[in-house]
């Protein structure tokens, strides 16, 4: 059959995947464990973007994709979406979070104190090249404080609301399966509050940063002050069919409150994610802060930033341009050539007719 030569597609794609995998070689449970242990912040980022809290699966996805982050997140999302929704956990309030780190840039000190917790913020960023010379790297041991800081704290905004500095949003009493779920419904605009927060929680970190940074630099209406940034662990409380409530474990969460100082009261923007993702939370909260009243089509308008920070969709569409487009190209080429021929013909005839 004369067309046989063009039927190579199936074999070629199989071999191309083999080539990709050849570089990393095989992997096993041990490598997954190593990834999980050595790269907790990468795991957190991936879990946040995948909106799936499972350190083992996140580490597996990273090992399986060689650290191609978009691929790892897609793997997890595609797995996640096939899983049944067995239970909806009880809502979590800030004062129930087991807090590791809680800082505020708005006040020198806050009730409960500035708790620095784990951070590289004040580290000197010097590459430990000694390690490559064969030296080991062992971190200095942590010296526990004489008085441990209280583990449970309300949010800074709760204190501000008490002092009439800001208007707390009206609590949303929706519970259980009535809570809008972005993973089971399309995002429509004006967006439901739950959808906005869910969408920011699983947004692509770099994308949220880019748009959030644009708002911070002056393309937004509000300049953020970090009211509270928190890294914590949240208890997942679920209700057994027999009515008893129990803990299904703890998950790492991060949240940011940012405020503006424009009116008589503080305006507030909020974001929270699974895993400890500080840059993402601050950027997302900044977008949230800037979104009310933002001009349509501006980077701080919710339709703009929610659509364009969806990592699985944006990265997928970006790489889809590698697919052949010759039919559409041919179609445009035909119109271009025809228009060109028409123009040439027109300039040949000396007396131009006036436009109708």
């Amino acid at each position: 059959m004369a067309y046989v030569a063009t039927r190579g597609g199936e074999r070629a794609i199989e071999q191309s995947e083999r080539l990709f995998r050849e570089e990393m070689g095989g992997f096993d449970r041990q490598r997954v464990e190593e990834v999980k242990k050595s790269l907790p912040y990468l795991i957190d980022r991936v879990m946040g973007e995948a909106s799936l809290y499972d350190e083992d699966l996140a580490a597996l996805a990273l090992a399986q994709t060689g650290g191609e982050l978009y691929e790892a997140v897609l793997l997890l999302r595609a797995w996640r979406t096939t899983q049944p929704r067995l239970q909806v956990a009880e809502p979590i309030e800030q004062d129930t979070l087991f807090t590791h780190r809680r800082i505020s840039a708005a006040f020198k000190d806050i009730p409960g104190g500035q708790v620095l917790g784990p951070t590289l913020d004040y580290a000197h960023r010097i590459l430990a090249t000694d390690v490559l010379q064969g030296e080991g790297y062992a971190p200095e041991p942590v010296e526990p404080a004489a008085n441990p800081s209280p583990a449970y704290q309300p949010s800074v905004s709760a204190w501000q609301a008490e002092n009439d500095l800001l208007e707390q949003p009206t609590p949303d009493g929706t519970t259980g399966n009535d809570i809008p779920d972005l993973t089971r419904e399309p995002l429509l605009f004006p967006s439901k509050r739950a959808h906005t927060l869910q969408s920011l929680a699983r947004a692509e970190t770099g994308g949220v940063l880019a748009l959030g940074y644009a708002a911070m630099r002056g393309y937004g209406q509000a300049h953020p002050t970090v009211n509270e940034l928190r890294l914590a662990e949240a208890e997942i409380a679920v209700t057994h069919p027999d009515g008893r409530q129990f803990s299904a474990g703890r998950v790492k969460v991060s949240q940011a409150e940012v405020v503006d100082k424009k009116g008589e009261k503080l305006g507030i923007g909020y974001a929270a994610t699974l895993g400890w993702n500080e840059v993402k939370c601050i950027s997302a909260a900044t977008l949230d802060l800037n979104s009310p009243g933002a001009e349509k089509g501006s980077a701080t308008e919710e339709e703009f930033f929610l659509y364009h920070t969806e990592g699985v969709e944006s990265s997928g569409f970006c790489i889809h341009f590698k697919l052949p487009h010759y039919v559409t190209f041919q179609s445009s080429l035909d119109a271009m050539r025809d228009a060109k021929a028409k123009k040439a013909e027109q300039s040949k005839s000396s007396d131009m007719e006036p436009a109708e």
Partner: protein, 304 residues
């Protein structure tokens, strides 16, 4: 009641990959799209094990519609052997156990990116078109909430204006593929980036066409025997690509949509874009039997 009566034995994945609730939603949204032809219906659009923009919308529809007897054909730019078509076909068959085919006439369900096959589709066949951008108003209104309102109001003035401006600037409508078309006299839709050549095939077609955009989470449909009219001014007729006179250098087929293959000497050769049509033409030429069905275009002209 015990836990075992509520659960099923563990399986690595559901039949056809998508779980029951995802399929149920898709069925409902498909019915809605059929009921309101050309109107974009939002749907959740689950992630599938393929990147967004690579046919995930079409794939979700196909996975919902198939059963183990459904014979599936997948094409990309007209070709069954294109790498992504091969990948999608392999995936559907792997998770749904469907038989596959390259023959348009044998297929029960055809998932396609950017082409409609040259052979006339029947009432018992379903065409699933992959859609990158479901919004025909995007060039004149990038904001989706405003565009949605415009559809509700049948406010298509800017669409017409855009076509008019192209005629004034370039002497013709410059829209290549994805030619905006009015469905059932009410909704303007994009027929997906099929060439202008293929749009008339949708008009009063016998088959059901479902168009699905996975990344943009919109689904719409052209039910059988529904009017699909490209937006044209009464004095500037609709023009398909001038391919009617071209001959395929491989198969000798004339009068079909062609791929242009640039040659070393600066000229162009052409080969028929519908690869299976090319194969069938070659078979007939080489005396291996006639397997070609009726085509929409005859001698390079769309037949009525």
């Amino acid at each position: 009641m015990s836990l075992s009566t509520l659960t099923k034995p563990w399986e690595a994945m559901s039949y056809g990959f998508l779980d029951g609730s995802a399929k149920r939603e898709l069925r409902r949204k498909m019915l809605k799209s059929v009921a309101v032809p050309g109107c974009q219906t939002p749907y959740a659009s689950r992630e599938v094990p393929m990147a967004r923009g690579w046919g995930t919308g079409g794939l979700q529809v196909s996975l919902t519609l198939v059963n183990p007897q459904t014979r599936v054909k997948v094409i990309d730019q007209g070709a069954d052997d294109s790498v992504n078509a091969a990948s999608i076909r392999r995936f559907i068959s792997r998770v749904a156990g469907t038989p596959t085919t390259m023959d348009t006439l044998e297929a029960d369900l055809i998932q396609s990116r950017h082409r409609i096959p040259e052979e006339i589709l029947r009432e018992d066949q379903v065409l699933v078109l992959q859609v990158p951008n479901p919004e025909p108003l995007r060039p004149v209104q990038p904001n989706m909430s405003i565009a949605r309102q415009m559809h509700a109001d049948a406010d298509y003035g800017r669409m017409w204006l855009q076509l008019y401006e192209q005629i004034v600037r370039s002497g013709r409508v410059m829209q290549g593929a994805s030619y905006p078309s009015l469905v059932h006299g009410r909704h303007v839709m994009t027929p997906s980036p099929i060439p202008r050549w293929d749009v008339p095939k949708l008009h009063m077609a016998k088959h059901l066409t479902i168009l699905s955009a996975g990344r943009e989470k919109r689904i719409f449909a052209v039910p059988p025997y529904t009017k699909v009219e490209p937006l044209v001014f009464s004095d500037v007729p609709y023009k398909v690509e001038e391919h009617g006179h071209l001959t395929c250098t491989r198969s000798g087929a004339t009068g079909f949509f062609m791929n242009e293959i640039p040659q070393d000497d600066g000229s162009s050769a052409f080969e028929v874009s519908d690869s299976e049509w090319g194969v069938k033409t070659i078979r007939a030429r080489d005396g291996e039997g006639e397997s070609r069905g009726e085509t929409w275009y005859k001698d390079g002209e769309m037949s009525e």
